[in-house]
């Protein structure tokens, strides 16, 4: 199969028994779906389990003829993953939220480089490392929108549909994610200036 088929064609072919078409869909989206899950649950084994459940549900939906081509396949997959993550957190009864104003909120203690002779490359790497930590400390609902928007290139309309909220809520979460990241950077004196 050398031609590049779109998602709709692959789904249709799989419905008609062509398993290779489904493999192509998995291959096309495995990183986006898995990274989205892993960024939220922050546990590799758990992310693997939810990823597997997501795709088993996708298979059952397609095979049952219940897949509706109303949006993109990735939206459909993300919506299933989102619902499974919510189910997991409900069962585990944990929805960790972070208050960046807390006194003990100190994940950037290692960001204490002040020596002006340090190579810019080293500073960049350090700041990137700090930003990683800040992203991990965001409340889940804000981290979710950040990943969907900035990594998965989803529109706010698509994000709203996948996460079952209004577009304004999705926009608000993105805005607060950036505000919180800036706040954390400021608190820890990670000053990011534009030349």
């Amino acid at each position: 199969m050398s031609e590049i088929l779109n998602d709709k064609e692959l789904v249709l072919r799989y419905q008609n028994g062509d398993v290779a078409s489904f493999e192509m869909l998995v291959d096309r989206y495995q990183n986006k779906v898995f990274s989205y899950i892993a960024m939220l649950v922050k546990d590799k084994q758990l992310a693997d389990d939810i990823f597997q459940d997501t795709f088993l549900k996708i298979i059952r939906t397609i095979k049952a003829g219940a897949y509706k081509e109303e949006g993109k396949f990735i939206q459909f997959a993300m919506r299933i993953a989102h619902n499974l993550i919510i189910d997991y957190f409900r069962k585990a009864k944990r929805l960790p939220m972070v208050d960046p104003t807390k006194e003990d909120y100190d994940m950037l203690d290692n960001a204490k480089f002040t020596d002006p002779s340090i190579e810019e490359q080293m500073i960049t790497e350090q700041i990137h490392d700090d930003i990683r930590k800040m992203i991990e400390y965001l409340p889940e609902e804000q981290r979710e929108v950040l990943v969907m928007r900035m990594y998965d290139d989803m529109s706010f309309k698509e994000i709203a549909e996948a996460t079952n909220v209004s577009i304004n809520t999705a926009l608000g979460r993105m805005r607060y994610a950036l505000i919180n990241l800036r706040k954390m950077a400021k608190q820890k004196n990670v000053a990011l200036t534009v030349a």
Binding site: F22, F34, I127
Partner: protein, 44 residues
């Protein structure tokens, strides 16, 4: 710590996010389970 960069803060967050997410892959075992299920599922 100050970094002089032509990147905006938002661009930098995006870069970091791309680095973080690009590294994340499901296990081979999980992928095999999914593909095996896809091949044998009789749930129509």
């Amino acid at each position: 710590m100050v970094l002089n960069s032509t990147l905006s803060f938002e661009d930098m967050v995006k870069d970091v996010l791309h680095d973080m997410c690009a590294e994340m892959q499901p296990s081979r075992k999980t992928l095999d389970t999914i593909l095996q299920y896809a091949a044998t599922c009789e749930c129509a």
